[in-house]
């Protein structure tokens, strides 16, 4: 909380200074396509799971890079790995492997 004591909700500012980038770097090592997204939104619009959990590969990547892991996990919870995002991605990102790689690298600390 702020030292002045008049802020009632936590700041929505994304503090990039405090983001731990290690896991994202690990992700990029396992699936280099993780850094190729140009945020066109094709994957989000076509996603079969979007209506169930707001899944969007684009947003998941953005969240992970900004240290908003929990939001990413919530979105991924209904991903069906159907591969539609793989088909539409103009950057040719291997989205399915990306999602599986995220499921492997992330999430451990959450379960503790």
């Amino acid at each position: 909380m702020s030292m002045f004591g008049f802020r009632i909700s936590p700041s929505s500012t994304i503090d990039l200074d405090k983001v731990d980038r290690n896991r994202f770097k690990k992700l990029c090592a396992l699936e280099p396509d993780a850094s190729k997204c140009m945020a066109c939104g094709s994957c989000s619009a076509t996603c079969s799971a979007s209506e169930f959990s707001g899944m969007s590969v684009r947003k998941v990547l953005l969240c992970l890079q900004q240290g908003r892991e929990k939001e990413a996990y919530a979105m991924m919870s209904s991903c069906m790995l159907c591969g539609k995002c793989l088909m539409v991605c103009p950057r040719g990102i291997n989205t399915r492997h990306l999602i599986l790689s995220i499921s492997r690298i992330y999430g451990k600390e959450e379960s503790i």
Binding site: E51, G83, M87, I102
Partner: protein
């Protein structure tokens, strides 16, 4: 020469053979017991019950002869390759069998000595009794000659594998090499050993003639014992190395055949049938040439034969790499001579990957996906012309929503044929689960299947129609939809045409039909699409088709293969399809269509599209 040792029926040189024999038999026994114990209880029961089922047993015996001895599948693939393998396997089998018959007929008192039939010629001397067996002498020599011709071919194959229909062969491991060289040596040494003793033991055209030649310049009988020692030593070496080399496939296949005929499937990544598969792999390398990833040379080391090798060695890093890269097109399984299912083995490996995050579909409300559009109301559809109509629920699938041409053509065909039908996923739906299954996350796939089953049951449909072979396969294999017929559109269109509900006009267009992996090898549908294509135009066949069709390269089966790595695979598959210079490529899978469409120089269409255009 000491006649006494000859006639006593024992000499120290049998020791290497006996050690090898006992070693190999105990290894096989332990291995077989282990595999059987590792089976789940239900499979164990199934296996033992199959052994007392006369029909399955008859099938087993037939397969033992056809597969293990005569290598019928190899003959079909390449005559030279078939001859090479069956000459060695069957020849050797006959020599062992005839050897025992000889002993049984002429020296029945020694049948209990395990080594005796193998070294029979050393221990017997010609007398009136054994001479009656000149027919057997002839047969023994004859089969030895057959084997030697096989060995000669094997030598040629090492140098010129292309003559045997193989572009690439397996890189041998160290133990495989020792096994190979000792196997090559066994029979020439046997010939030499029998050649030296033929004047005493008796022989036929081969051994007798050799005996004359040998005696004419070597003369001395001193050579006799060393050659028998050498023969026994190579036999011993071969048998001692056998459990650690690819030659383990010889005993393993004997067990795999009844397991397969009993219908036992892979349930574990390493244990039970998986273990048996790994050991049954003869390392022949037919899967290397078959693998569509082989279009890029670097991928050769990811063929099933190397997966099996890494599984034997327990190299986890490589196992994961190979398993996750595979397209799961199933071609290696289709061409495998011993029936190793490389695709299923890989899915089993994928189930072992640890994930920290797992999707959970329990919150998905199926009712939100059920609406008046996909529920059949009890009153019959007024627009439907046929009275005895099935209520058809059409599940276009995820991929089909990205190929509007298929979707639109299907709608048009269904309406033209007067079918009473509904869209199951017009506004989107739940994935069939096959992509998740292929990723090895079976539990999640089952959850999806449950959700979809609920929708289908609620709809009141009699038939589920699918456009995507990926969906079709899992609906066929893993869903339990009693009372609902599951059909792929190729089958359904074929049925509509044969029932006269859809009239097609024929053009002169030359079409080549591409068998999608999941539809052809996956679900065994080869004929119906060809009927349909032939009804609208001229059917041209690809260089490799049907069971051996080449994956388009777009498969969801591969997890790690990136977009740019797939291009050469697609180009290779296209070259195969256009060998007969067709005007257009026809397929029956939205994924194949998109993948080919990207690189093809001629139109790529779905079968529904050409049917709609010509009806």
């Amino acid at each position: 020469m000491n006649n006494v040792t000859h006639l006593s029926g024992y000499n120290n040189f049998v020791l290497p053979f006996m050690i090898g024999m006992i070693f190999v038999l105990s290894c096989c026994a332990i291995g077989a017991v282990r595999v059987i114990l590792e089976l789940p209880a239900s499979d164990k029961k199934k296996f033992f019950l199959s052994l007392i089922n006369p029909k399955i047993m008859a099938q087993n015996v037939r397969d033992w002869f056809c597969d293990c001895l005569f290598h019928v599948k190899l003959w079909k693939r390449n005559k030279l390759l078939g001859y090479m393998h069956s000459s060695i396997a069957f020849g050797w089998f006959m020599i062992i069998l005839l050897g025992h018959i000889e002993v049984f007929l002429y020296t029945p008192d020694r049948i209990h000595k395990l080594w005796y039939p193998i070294f029979f010629r050393y221990f017997v001397a010609v007398n009136d009794n054994t001479m009656q067996g000149s027919f057997f002498f002839f047969l023994m020599d004859f089969f030895l000659l057959i084997i030697l011709s096989g060995i000669l071919l094997a030598l040629v194959k090492r140098v010129r594998s292309r003559a045997f229909g193989m572009r690439r062969t397996t890189r041998l491991s160290f133990t495989d090499r020792i096994g190979l060289y000792s196997l090559w040596l066994i029979f020439p040494l046997r010939l030499l050993a029998e050649g030296f003793t033929a004047d005493i033991s008796g022989g036929s055209f081969l051994t007798m003639s050799l005996n004359h030649v040998l005696h004419s310049f070597l003369g001395s009988e001193m050579n006799m014992l060393p050659t028998w020692w050498a023969y026994s030593l190579t036999l011993g070496t071969f048998m001692c190395i056998l459990p650690f080399s690819r030659y383990m496939h010889i005993p393993a296949e004997i067990l795999l055949i009844p397991m397969r005929n009993a219908g036992i499937l892979i349930t574990h990544s390493r244990k039970g049938v998986s273990r048996l598969y790994v050991h049954t792999c003869p390392g022949c390398g037919v899967c290397i040439d078959a693998c569509p990833m082989g279009a890029v040379k670097a991928n050769n080391k990811d063929a099933t034969v190397y997966l099996n090798r890494q599984l034997k060695r327990g190299n986890q890093r490589r196992i994961n790499e190979i398993s996750e890269k595979c397209l799961l097109c199933g071609k290696c399984s289709a061409v495998c001579q011993v029936g190793v299912e490389g695709d299923k083995l890989r899915i089993a490996q994928r189930t072992q990957i640890k994930y920290n995050l797992s999707p959970d579909y329990s919150k998905i409300d199926v009712n939100s996906l059920i609406n008046t559009n996909n529920i059949f109301v009890n009153t019959a559809n007024k627009n439907v012309s046929y009275t005895e109509n099935k209520k058809v629920l059409y599940f276009a699938g995820c991929m089909t929503s990205l190929t509007p041409s298929i979707r639109k053509s299907m709608v048009s065909i269904l309406n033209k044929s007067g079918v009473d039908w509904r869209f199951m996923d017009e506004e989107g739906g739940i994935c069939c689960g096959r992509p998740m299954w292929m990723a090895g996350r079976l539990e999640q796939a089952k959850q999806m299947a449950e959700k979809n089953t609920e929708i289908i049951k609620t709809s009141g449909a009699d038939m589920l129609l699918l456009s995507c072979p990926i969906c079709y396969r899992i609906f066929k294999e893993r869903y339990s939809l009693e009372g609902v017929e599951v059909l792929h559109h190729t089958e359904y269109i074929d049925r509509l045409v044969s029932e006269g509900r859809l009239n097609l006009s024929r053009s002169d267009t030359r079409y080549v039909y591409h068998d999608p992996c999941e539809l052809g090898r996956g679900c065994n549908i080869y004929e119906q699409p060809r009927h349909v294509v032939s009804a609208v135009g001229e059917l041209v066949e690809a260089a490799k088709n049907g069971k051996e069709s080449v994956c388009c390269g777009g498969s969801l089966g591969s997890l790690t293969l990136g977009f740019d790595k797939r291009k050469p695979l697609t180009e290779n598959a296209l070259a195969n399809l256009t060998a007969g210079s067709p005007d257009a490529i026809v397929t029956a899978c939205p994924l194949c269509q998109s993948t080919f469409g990207r690189y093809s120089d001629r139109p790529v269409k779905d079968i529904a599209q050409i049917v709609d255009e010509n009806s």
